[in-house]
């Protein structure tokens, strides 16, 4: 029984009411003739008041019911790749064989069971689903998955049982297991074992430098396998190493390489499968690295020291991204020669060292008013042409009285790669002030477009070479007012070349420095350097990854976004097979959806002149790299969470440890208010009627 509306205020009210009632009742009953009349009437009145108070305070009867239950159990089964490897289809098949029996056992204990799979995450499953899983490539992330599962768990399990081989690729600490307080019983499945050979480790720099040698070291381990095997290495799908190796317990294979192009590279290593080995899934390795340039290595060869030379050198020396090798001809064979070597600081022009031994190491070669003829055979220029045309080295040629035709470059490999022809004209090199102006292409080309707002304010130039004629495919960015070209760009096969047909650009530099103004020269020369060395900003094709999309931008040779540029797109597998190929006409940007591109793969894009390889990163999978259990991981999980650890053969459901949650649970309650019952109403009115009748009978009002 319980008062439903008992509050202090109501109690005070009832008490005050009772005192008043008692006072007036005593006064009213003093006229009673007999004492027992008085007592009886007072008793009846009090009974009536009590009944009223019970109704006022809502005296009710409350009835509760309770039930007894046992907590649920969660069974988590490791379904990562390693569980499917080994004899008889791997450890997963042993679990599949016993699982129905475990479920029956729990059922007989009165426990409900939820089933889950564990790989990279914990997923709800069913007996049918688990029995039907045949294979998996997924990684084991036991600790990551468990942590997430325990945090998001909505059902209050009495305990969990984890079946796993203990091979785990998560990096998490085990501390979270103590927090939740749910016992996790672990059952160790035997990890895959048997004859096997695998790529255990590959050591390589995640960032390599352009033109700087680096090495890739592959460590191969084997268990009970000996003999000859084949090892192949692919870079962006191209085979770079293919050799026979002798498999023993552990061997290391070293490959030295130098890469000439900046960009991202997908490294894929494949070891030939061996008959009878446990799995060949661990015979492959795929990862990525970047090649960046450390510094732009520039060779500046100068025919004679001038102010133009002095300020170009100043610009290059002050440029932190440049490693400069200068060579200046300070004395020609025609100059007075009769000094002893000890009197001079001069050294012989190291033609052979530069043009034969080191030519491949330069990102850009600058010929500044330099006449090559007295210093070496034409073969040296053939080497220059080779490195330029293979795209290894950019070439810049600056004017003067010994450049171009006057420099005897006509009909040489330099004329082949230059964007201009060298002409025999009456006035090859002219002095006289002239204002430079941007051509239409110059106004939009990224090298010179910035000049638009400065060109009128810049001091005039004073020299111009007229012994040149731009080739058909070249671009003239800057000219004099008569239209004689001053800055000309061109491509020669994969290489880029710039001709600057004056040696008075230094005025723009010195003049702006004197006025503490904007250093036009610095930006112009930096742009030219970036363009000839194919800085990614100046590439005709660029790729950008944003969220789920890959944006491909194709530009024409004027660096405007391409309209109807014929473009070939290929997806190449890490080992060089073309997975998909399509040709289309690019209209500026092309959007590709990442989920439609096989991963990992290399996207190859080719337009008329340029080609770009872009590896699309897939998710790294460490599952098959090693079948080693994480040290005592399953024991630790059981120990820290308060569960028990079992070997598979020892496990019985009744041995697992769970929380004791067999408690009474209040299920429902019934409330009946007393004053609403007929007995109460009968009693209440009965008492009042008896009291009124007796009072009247005994002659009171």
């Amino acid at each position: 029984m319980k008062f439903l509306e008992i509050t202090p205020l109501k109690i005070v009210f009832v008490l005050i009411l009772f005192i008043l009632f008692f006072f007036f009742s005593i006064r009213a009953l003093h006229k009673a003739e007999k004492r027992w009349h008085k007592v009886l009437l007072m008793g009846l009145r009090c009974a009536g008041f009590i009944l009223f108070s019970m109704a006022f305070l809502r005296l009710s009867s409350v009835k509760k019911t309770y039930s007894e239950t046992r907590g649920k159990v969660g069974i988590l089964i490791d379904t990562s790749g390693s569980m499917f490897i080994g004899e008889g289809g791997g450890a997963i098949n042993q679990i599949k064989g016993r699982l129905p029996e475990y479920l029956r056992n729990f059922s007989s204990q009165g426990r409900e069971v939820d089933l889950f799979t564990v790989d990279e995450k914990v997923s709800s499953s069913s007996l049918e689903n688990i029995l039907s899983i045949e294979n998996s490539e997924k990684e084991t992330k036991i600790l990551d998955s468990l942590d997430e599962f325990l945090r998001k768990m909505e059902i209050d399990y009495d305990g969990l049982i984890l079946f796993s081989d203990g091979i785990d690729n998560s990096e998490k600490s085990l501390d979270f297991l103590k927090e939740k307080g749910i016992p996790i019983n672990t059952v160790r499945m035997p990890p895959p074992s048997g004859k096997d050979v695998w790529i255990d480790k590959v050591e390589f720099p995640t960032v390599a430098f352009k033109k700087v040698p680096f090495s890739i070291r592959v460590i191969i381990k084997s268990n009970e396998i000996r003999g000859r095997g084949k090892l192949k290495m692919f870079l962006n799908g191209k085979l770079v190493f293919n050799d026979e190796i002798h498999i023993k317990k552990e061997i290391a294979v070293l490959k030295e390489m130098t890469i000439d192009e900046e960009g991202s590279y997908l490294l894929h290593i494949a070891l030939s499968p061996f008959p009878g080995e446990l799995t060949d899934k661990n015979n492959y390795f795929t990862d990525y690295f970047k090649v960046i340039r450390d510094k732009i290595r520039i060779l500046q060869v100068v025919g004679t020291p001038t102010w133009d030379v002095r300020f170009l050198r100043r610009f290059l020396k002050k440029n932190m991204s440049v490693e400069l090798i200068s060579f200046m001809i300070l004395r020609t064979p025609e100059d007075y020669l009769y000094f002893r070597n000890e009197e001079l600081s001069l050294i012989p022009f190291p033609t052979r060292e530069i043009f034969v031994e080191a030519i491949d190491t330069f990102d850009a070669v600058i010929f500044q008013n330099f006449n090559y003829a007295p210093y070496g055979p034409i073969d040296f220029l053939i080497n220059l042409k080779r490195v330029v045309q293979t795209g290894k080295t950019g070439f810049i040629m600056l004017g003067g009285d010994r450049a171009f035709y006057k420099g005897e470059y006509s009909n040489t490999p330099v004329e082949e790669i230059a964007p201009v022809r060298f002409l025999d004209v009456p006035e090859p090199y002219v002095h006289g002030e002239f204002k430079a102006k941007l051509t239409k292409i110059g106004e939009i080309h990224p090298i010179t477009s910035f000049l638009k707002e400065f060109i009128e304010k810049l001091p005039p130039l004073n020299t111009i070479n007229l012994d040149i004629q731009p080739k058909k495919d070249s671009l003239v960015l800057l000219s004099d007012i008569k239209g004689n070209p001053v800055i000309i760009l061109g491509e020669s096969e994969k290489g880029r070349c710039v001709v600057i047909a004056t040696n008075s650009l230094w005025k723009w530099y010195f003049n702006s420095l004197l006025k503490h103004g904007f250093e036009v020269y610095t930006k112009l020369m930096q742009n030219i350097l970036n363009w000839v060395t194919e800085d990614p900003y100046f590439k005709e094709i660029s790729i950008e990854e944003t969220g789920e999309k890959v944006i491909v931008t194709v530009r024409d040779k004027n660096f405007k976004e391409c309209k109807k540029c014929r473009t070939s797109l290929k997806f190449i597998s890490p080992d060089g097979r073309t997975i998909e190929e399509k040709n289309f006409e690019a209209e500026g940007n092309a959007l590709l959806r990442k989920d439609e591109i096989p991963s990992p793969s290399i996207i190859s894009i080719q337009t008329h002149q340029s080609q770009l390889y872009y590896p699309l990163k897939g998710k790294e999978n460490f599952e098959f790299k090693s079948f080693k259990e994480k040290e005592k991981l399953l024991e630790k999980i059981a120990g820290l969470s308060g569960g028990r650890y079992f070997e598979f053969e020892e496990f019985r459901p009744e041995k697992a440890r769970f929380l004791s949650k067999e408690k009474r649970i209040e299920n429902w309650k019934e409330i009946k208010e007393i004053w609403t019952s007929s007995l109460f109403i009968f009693l209440f009115f009965g008492v009042i009627i008896i009291e009124w009748t007796l009072r009247r009978k005994w002659g009171m009002k």
Binding site: L324, Y336, S345, H431, F510
Partner: protein, 221 residues
């Protein structure tokens, strides 16, 4: 014969040349003021020698000008000499000198007097110290690139010149010498040092590049 050819060639090439200071070729620019000592013939002799033995090409005519001259500061090399008259720069002139030097210009300040306390020498040093700070004039060491830009000076020879300088960005941007131009035609090493300084203005620290070091070290006693 070679010199004659060069001069003839230069006449034809540079005949239509615009005024001064705007050519990429080296030009002797001398600061003209009332205490200036023009030594045109000596300068021509130095330039002759420069052309004769190096690959440097020059503007034939030296130029004498001052701060008011158009394009005066467009020459990265300026020669300043004097003897018995002191020299004073105004505030604006000092600003221009500072700007010229920090932009990469070189001043060769040459005492034409035997007297180390000549009015020119004391005043010009004071003026430059007022621009670059007291104590900014320091001895130029014998190992400085100035002594290696073309001719190689052995340490004892270099020391004799007692060159001093004001260093900006690690290079001697103002060089203080004694009777360098006057003695050039008469004394071998003076001529060589002048040629080295001209070469230094054109090539700066080129001879400090690694490629030259083994050769230079081998040739120095």
């Amino acid at each position: 014969m070679k010199r004659l050819l060069k001069i003839v060639m230069m006449f034809f090439l540079f005949g239509n040349y615009n005024l001064f200071g705007i050519s990429p070729l080296f030009r002797w620019v001398q600061y003209k003021y009332e205490g200036d000592i023009p030594m045109e013939e000596v300068v021509k002799q130095v330039l002759w020698e420069l052309v004769r033995i190096t690959s440097v090409e020059i503007e034939e005519e030296p130029f004498y000008g001052n701060f008011d001259e158009e394009n005066f500061f467009m020459s990265p090399f300026i020669y300043l000499t004097g003897k018995n008259l002191s020299i004073n720069f105004g505030t604006e002139e000092k600003k221009k000198i500072l700007s010229h030097i920090t932009a990469g210009g070189l001043w060769l300040v040459d005492n034409a007097s035997e007297n180390e306390n000549s009015p020119f020498w004391t005043s010009v040093r004071k003026e430059f110290e007022s621009i670059f700070g007291h104590g900014s004039i320091k001895p130029i060491p014998e190992s400085d690139v100035i002594f290696r830009t073309f001719f190689l000076f052995q340490t004892d020879v270099a020391r004799r010149f007692e060159l001093e300088g004001i260093f900006v960005d690690g290079r001697a941007a103002v060089i203080f010498s004694k009777n360098l131009l006057q003695n050039a035609p008469k004394r071998k090493y003076y001529m060589r040092l002048l040629i080295n300084i001209i070469m230094f203005s054109l090539t700066t620290d080129y001879k400090l590049d690694q490629i030259h070091q083994p050769f230079i070290k081998k040739r120095l006693r």
